[in-house]
């Protein structure tokens, strides 16, 4: 920090270290989730996609397939966004 910095307004832009931390939290959480997912999940997702596409045309971003652990059982969560 020098005297010249006083003339710049830094207050509104978040510091880059803070941005780094927020980005890392998201990416690490996402990757840990993927890591713990069962191996068959990508294939299952493809098959579900093929079935839905027989009836409605959807893109890959409109289907979300997740497995969540809940104590001694797992929940398969399938979310499909159908176009209007």
């Amino acid at each position: 920090m020098s005297i010249f910095d006083l003339f710049r307004d830094n207050s509104k832009t978040p510091k880059s270290a803070h941005v780094a931390k927020e980005r890392l939290k998201v990416i690490v959480a996402h990757e840990r989730h993927q890591r713990n997912a069962p191996d068959y999940l990508p294939a299952l997702q493809r098959d579900i996609m093929d079935v839905i596409r027989k009836y409605v045309d959807i893109g890959p971003e409109q289907l979300q397939v997740d497995v969540n652990e809940e104590g001694n059982y797992s929940i398969l969560e399938v979310n499909v966004n159908l176009p209007k």
Binding site: M1, S2, K15, A17, K21, R23, L24, K25, V28, R35
Partner: protein, 269 residues
């Protein structure tokens, strides 16, 4: 009972070999019989950092393939009687390492040594997986930078699922965080991730913080583990790290930004 310690990171260039050299020399200086193995097959570097590149006759792969005995390949450090180096092969590729071959060498080393330090190659492929497979403890070297932290998390995932301990339902590999190239001034300016940020994201116990230091390059230029430069900040930080690894309580040092003189504060720089 020998302890197998892997120095790993996922990302390249974060300081695995520097840390392997410093920590293994530190353990040896503390009186523990230590061997450090270069797992970076095809791209060996530990020998040059340890200043024994001209004494390499046989290497790790020769021992695995029974072309040389372990004692023919081990290089005794000239500065510390307790320290030996097992260099990597320069000519073979990483597929020369097999679980069975590595196990045999580690078992033989365990008869002679207290600590077996494994210097992992970068990446998450065969070489890196072999380096961590039989580890009892892992020192995860991380720079305060997004790609390094992310890669460290991936390596932690591999330690927790693909190590011998994980595959055989044994107590997990003990994980330690070693932050290197830490620059307190950039942290103070908000331009660099701080220690608590990295601890929060990776959620493993902090073993040490090594400041960004000219001494590291000076040491590698001379082929001298940086702990032998006892006056340097990085050398002292590694010696503290080794002491903590051996169970001592040591406060973390070199975390404060240097106070600048009046002219620097006014004119910057």
């Amino acid at each position: 009972m020998a302890k197998i310690v892997v120095i790993t990171s996922g990302k390249g260039g974060v300081g695995k070999t520097t840390s392997s050299a410093a920590i293994s020399m530190g353990l040896a200086l503390r009186g523990h019989k230590t061997v450090v193995i270069d797992f970076d097959i095809g791209l060996r570097n530990l020998d040059i950092i340890m200043n024994c590149e001209r004494r390499v006759v046989f290497d790790f792969v020769n021992v695995i393939q029974q072309e040389a005995s372990l004692n023919q390949a081990l290089i005794k450090d000239k500065r510390c009687d307790n320290l030996y180096i097992l260099p990597a092969s320069q000519t073979r590729d990483k597929d020369a390492l097999t679980k069975e071959g590595v196990k045999k060498v580690l078992d033989d080393l365990a008869e002679q040594f207290d600590y077996i330090v494994c210097d992992s190659p970068a990446g998450i492929e065969q070489g890196a997986q072999m380096a961590l497979y039989y580890a009892d403890e892992a020192i995860v070297v991380t720079n305060p930078e997004v790609s390094s932290v992310r890669d460290s998390d991936r390596i932690l995932g591999i330690l927790q699922s693909k190590s011998f301990r994980a595959e055989n339902n044994q107590p997990p590999v003990r994980e330690h965080l070693l932050i290197t190239r830490f620059d307190p001034e950039r942290v103070a300016r908000g331009d660099m991730l701080d220690v608590p940020d990295i601890e929060e994201i990776l959620a493993i116990p902090l073993l040490g913080i090594i400041p960004e230091s000219q001494a590291v390059l000076n040491a590698s230029n001379k082929g001298m583990p940086v702990v032998l430069d006892e006056k340097s900040d990085a050398g002292q930080a590694y010696l503290d790290t080794v002491a903590r690894f051996l169970g001592e309580e040591k406060p973390h040092r070199f975390l404060e930004a240097q106070r600048k003189g009046f002219l620097k504060r006014v004119f910057g720089g």
